[in-house]
C-alpha cells in the first residue's frame, strides 16, 4: 500500500458518511437506559432549575391530594394576575392560629371568620344569673320583714306617718306613729331610732310633751341620750322638764289666789305680779336636773292670760295678753293659736281671726278646733251665718278631739232653729269630753228639746263634781231670757 492509498483510507475514515442505506430498523438496537442517557446528555436545562421545577410539581401533587385548588398557571402570577401574598405567622388568626385573619374588617383585625362567628355566641356564664337570684332573694326577705314581720304593715306606718306630717296632716301622722309603735310593743329594740326621733319631735310640735317623753323613755336609754347624735331628743326632754317645772311654779302661785268659789271676784293684778317675779327665778333651785337658768317666759305669759280669763277680765284684755304671747320669741303655736283665733272671732276681728286660722291650718290642716274657733267669726259678726259656720266646722271635723267642733255645730243648729240636730251634736260633744261649756250647751239643747230627763241628769252630774247649773241656762229654762241672748253673748257660757 503506497502513501496515497493510506491517505485515501484516512480521509475516507474521516469523511465517512453514514450509510444511507441503513434504516432505523437496520440501526443497531439500543436499550432505554442508553436512550435516556442520551436524552439526558442532550438536555439544555441546568441541574438546579430542574430540581426546582420537580419540587414545584411535587408540591402541586401534594396540594391536590390535600384538596386544595391547584393553580394551573406557571406559578409565578396569581389567577387574577396579581402577585400572590406570602403569609407569615402574623397573618394567622390570634385565636385558632390555623386560619387567615379576616382582613375585610380591617388590616389589624386579629381573628378569622370562624372564630369571629364563635365569639358572637360565647356562652353566658351562670355566675351572673346566680348573683341576680341572690339579690332578688335578699330583696324578697327585706320586703317581707318590712311589711309582715311584726304586724300588718308595721314599718310602712312610719313611712306613712312622715309623709302625712310633711303634708300638714299632723293628726293622721300621729295616729300612724301610734300604730307603728304599737306594732313593736315589747320589742322596742327593733323600733327605728330615727323614726322615734321624728315622732317625738312631732309630738312636741303639737304640744304633746307628755307623749313625747313617754316615747323617748321607751326607746332610748340614758346613755344614748347623752350622745351627741341624739341631742335633738335630749332637747325635747329638757323642754318637757322645764315646762313641767314652770307649770309647778305657776300653779303654786295661782292656786293660792284663785282656788276660791268665785274667781271672778279676785283682783288679778297681784297674781300677775307674782307670775312676773317667776321670770327671774332659777328653776334649778328646786330641781337640779333641769337644764335651764330661767323658767319658760312664754309659758308664764300664757298663764297670765289664763289668770285674766279666770278672773273675768274683758275679752279685749285677754286678747291683748294672748297677742303678746304670740309675738314672743319661742312662742308655741299649739299653745296660743286656738285661743287667739277664738278671741279674735268673739271680738269680731275677722281679718286677724283669718290670719291666725290660716297659720294654724298651714301647720296642721287636721286641727278641728281651728275650724271651730274660726267658725265663731260667722256667729259674732253683724250678720250671723249659721250655714257658713256649719260648712266651716264640717270641713275640719274628724275623729280626733272634735268635742268643741260638735259643740259649736250644736250652737249653729240652735241658731238655725233645728233643735233636734243641735241636740244630736251636743250629745256627741258631751260624750267626747266634759267641759263646762260643753255641759251647758248640752243642757240648753235639752231645754230647747224639752228633754227633762237629760236636763236633770246633767244637773246631777254637775252636782257630783261640785258644780251647779249656769244661771243663764236656768233662766232660759224658766223662760226668763231668750235663746239668742245665750248664743250671741261672746262672754257667756256658750261662747
Amino acid at each position: 500500500m503506497n502513501d496515497f492509498d493510506e491517505k485515501r483510507l484516512g480521509m475516507e475514515e474521516e469523511n465517512e458518511m453514514p450509510d444511507e442505506t441503513q434504516t432505523q430498523d437496520t440501526l443497531p438496537e439500543q436499550t432505554e437506559d442508553e436512550l435516556f442517557d442520551e436524552k439526558e446528555n442532550e438536555s439544555t436545562l441546568p441541574e438546579d432549575a430542574l430540581e426546582q421545577e420537580l419540587e414545584q410539581i411535587r408540591d402541586m401533587f401534594q396540594r391536590s391530594l390535600d384538596g386544595e385548588e391547584i393553580d394551573s398557571s406557571d406559578g409565578e402570577d396569581g389567577a387574577d394576575g396579581e402577585p400572590e401574598r406570602e403569609y407569615t405567622e402574623e397573618d394567622f388568626c390570634e385565636c385558632c392560629g390555623e386560619n387567615i385573619r379576616d382582613y375585610s374588617k380591617g388590616d389589624d383585625y386579629p381573628y378569622c371568620e370562624d372564630c369571629t362567628r364563635l365569639m358572637k355566641k360565647t356562652p353566658i356564664g351562670f355566675k351572673g344569673i346566680l348573683v341576680i337570684l341572690i339579690a332578688l332573694v335578699i330583696a324578697g326577705l327585706s320586703t317581707y320583714i318590712t311589711i309582715t314581720k311584726y304586724s300588718s304593715e308595721a314599718d310602712l306606718y312610719a313611712l306613712e306617718a312622715q309623709s302625712l306630717a310633711d303634708s300638714g296632716k299632723l293628726n293622721s301622722a300621729l295616729n300612724s306613729y301610734i300604730s307603728y309603735f304599737s306594732s313593736y310593743q315589747g320589742k322596742m329594740d327593733y323600733v327605728g331610732k330615727k323614726a322615734a326621733i321624728r315622732a317625738a319631735k312631732l309630738y312636741a310640735a303639737c304640744g304633746y310633751f307628755s307623749d313625747a317623753h313617754d316615747l323617748i323613755s321607751n326607746v332610748f336609754t340614758e346613755e344614748e341620750l347623752s350622745k351627741k347624735m341624739y341631742a335633738g331628743v335630749k332637747g325635747i326632754e329638757d323642754e318637757y322638764a322645764l315646762l313641767n317645772a314652770t307649770y309647778d311654779a305657776v300653779y303654786s302661785v295661782i292656786s293660792e289666789s284663785l282656788n276660791v268659789a268665785d274667781p271672778t271676784k279676785v283682783d288679778p293684778a297681784p297674781v300677775l305680779k307674782q307670775l312676773d317675779a317667776l321670770k327671774t327665778a332659777d328653776p334649778r333651785e328646786k330641781d337640779e336636773s333641769i337644764n335651764a337658768e330661767k323658767y319658760s317666759e312664754f309659758f308664764i305669759e300664757y298663764y297670765k292670760y289664763m289668770v285674766l280669763a279666770s278672773t273675768g277680765a274683758s275679752l279685749e284684755k285677754q286678747y291683748e295678753q294672748v297677742k303678746k304671747v304670740a309675738d314672743m320669741d319661742g312662742a308655741e303655736l299649739w299653745a296660743y293659736g286656738g285661743t287667739l283665733c277664738s278671741l279674735a272671732a268673739k271680738l269680731g276681728k275677722e281679718e286677724e281671726a283669718k290670719q291666725i286660722f290660716d297659720k294654724i291650718i298651714a301647720f296642721n290642716s287636721e286641727d278641728p278646733s281651728a275650724y271651730a274657733n274660726y267658725a265663731n267669726v260667722y256667729r259674732f259678726c253683724e250678720k250671723p251665718d249659721p250655714d257658713k259656720m256649719i260648712e266651716i266646722i264640717n270641713k275640719g271635723l274628724n275623729d280626733s278631739n272634735a268635742a268643741e267642733s260638735y259643740r259649736l255645730l250644736a250652737v249653729a243648729y240652735l241658731m238655725k232653729g233645728d233643735y233636734e240636730k243641735a241636740f244630736e251634736c251636743s250629745t256627741s260633744s258631751y260624750n267626747s269630753s266634759y267641759t263646762l261649756q260643753g255641759i251647758y250647751t248640752h243642757a240648753v239643747c235639752a231645754v230647747m228639746n224639752k228633754d227633762e230627763e237629760t236636763y236633770e241628769s246633767i244637773e246631777q252630774m254637775l252636782a257630783y263634781y261640785g258644780y251647779s247649773m249656769s244661771d243663764s241656762v236656768k233662766k232660759l229654762k224658766d223662760g226668763k231670757i231668750k235663746l239668742d241672748k245665750l248664743i250671741y253673748d261672746a262672754e257667756g257660757e256658750l261662747a
Binding site: K120, V131, I138, A139, T143, A158, Y190
Partner: protein, 175 residues
C-alpha cells in the same frame, strides 16, 4: 392603681359580676364578638368582659347604657326597703337588720358598678357623633352619652367608689 381598682371591685363583687353579665348579654344581642368572658379578671378588665368594639352607634350606646340601667333597677329592687329601714327609720343592729345590711351592701355594689369601660364610652361617643350620624340621633343619645362618658371617667380612677361612700355617709347623717 390597678390593684386598688381590683380590690374595690372585689369588695363590690355582686355589682361587678352583674355588670359584666349585662355586658355579655348586650354583646350577644348586638352581635359583638366577646374575646374573654371572665367576669373578675385580676386587671383593669375586672367587672367587664373583653369584647370587640361595637361598630354601630345603637350597639355602642346599648353597651354603655343597658348594663347601668339594669344595675340601677336591680339596686332599687334590692335596696329600697333595706335602705329605708337603715337610713330612714334608723333600725338598731340586730340579727334581722343583717338582712337589711346585706341588702344595702348589694345595692351599693350594684350602684358603684354602673359605669362602662372608658374605651367603650369613647367608641360610643365617636360613633354617635360621627359625621355619618344624623342630628336626631345626636340629640336623642346626648343625655345618656354624657352620663356614660362621665361615669366611665370616674370608674377609670375608682372615684365612683368614693362618691358612693360619701353618698352613704351623707344619707346616714342627713336623713
Amino acid at each position: 392603681m390597678t390593684t386598688v381598682y381590683y380590690i374595690l371591685k372585689l369588695l363590690t363583687f355582686p355589682g361587678a359580676v352583674t355588670r359584666a353579665f349585662w355586658e355579655q348579654v348586650v354583646c350577644r344581642i348586638s352581635g359583638i364578638p366577646v374575646e374573654d368572658s371572665r367576669y373578675l379578671q385580676m386587671n383593669e378588665m375586672c367587672g367587664h368582659i373583653e369584647h370587640m368594639l361595637a361598630e354601630k352607634p345603637r350597639g355602642a350606646f346599648a353597651l354603655c347604657y343597658v348594663p347601668r340601667f339594669m344595675n340601677v333597677l336591680l339596686a332599687l329592687i334590692v335596696g329600697s326597703f333595706s335602705a329605708t329601714r337603715i337610713f330612714y327609720l334608723g333600725v338598731s343592729l340586730t340579727l334581722l337588720s343583717m338582712i337589711d345590711i346585706a341588702g344595702v351592701w348589694f345595692a351599693f355594689s350594684l350602684l358603684t358598678n354602673c359605669s362602662p369601660m372608658w374605651e367603650d364610652a369613647l367608641n360610643m361617643w365617636s360613633l354617635v357623633y360621627s359625621k355619618k350620624s344624623n342630628i336626631f340621633q345626636k340629640i336623642f343619645y346626648f343625655p345618656g352619652a354624657v352620663v356614660s362618658v362621665a361615669w366611665a371617667f370616674l370608674d377609670k380612677y375608682s372615684r365612683h367608689f368614693l362618691i358612693g361612700a360619701a353618698v352613704l355617709v351623707y344619707a346616714w347623717i342627713a336623713v
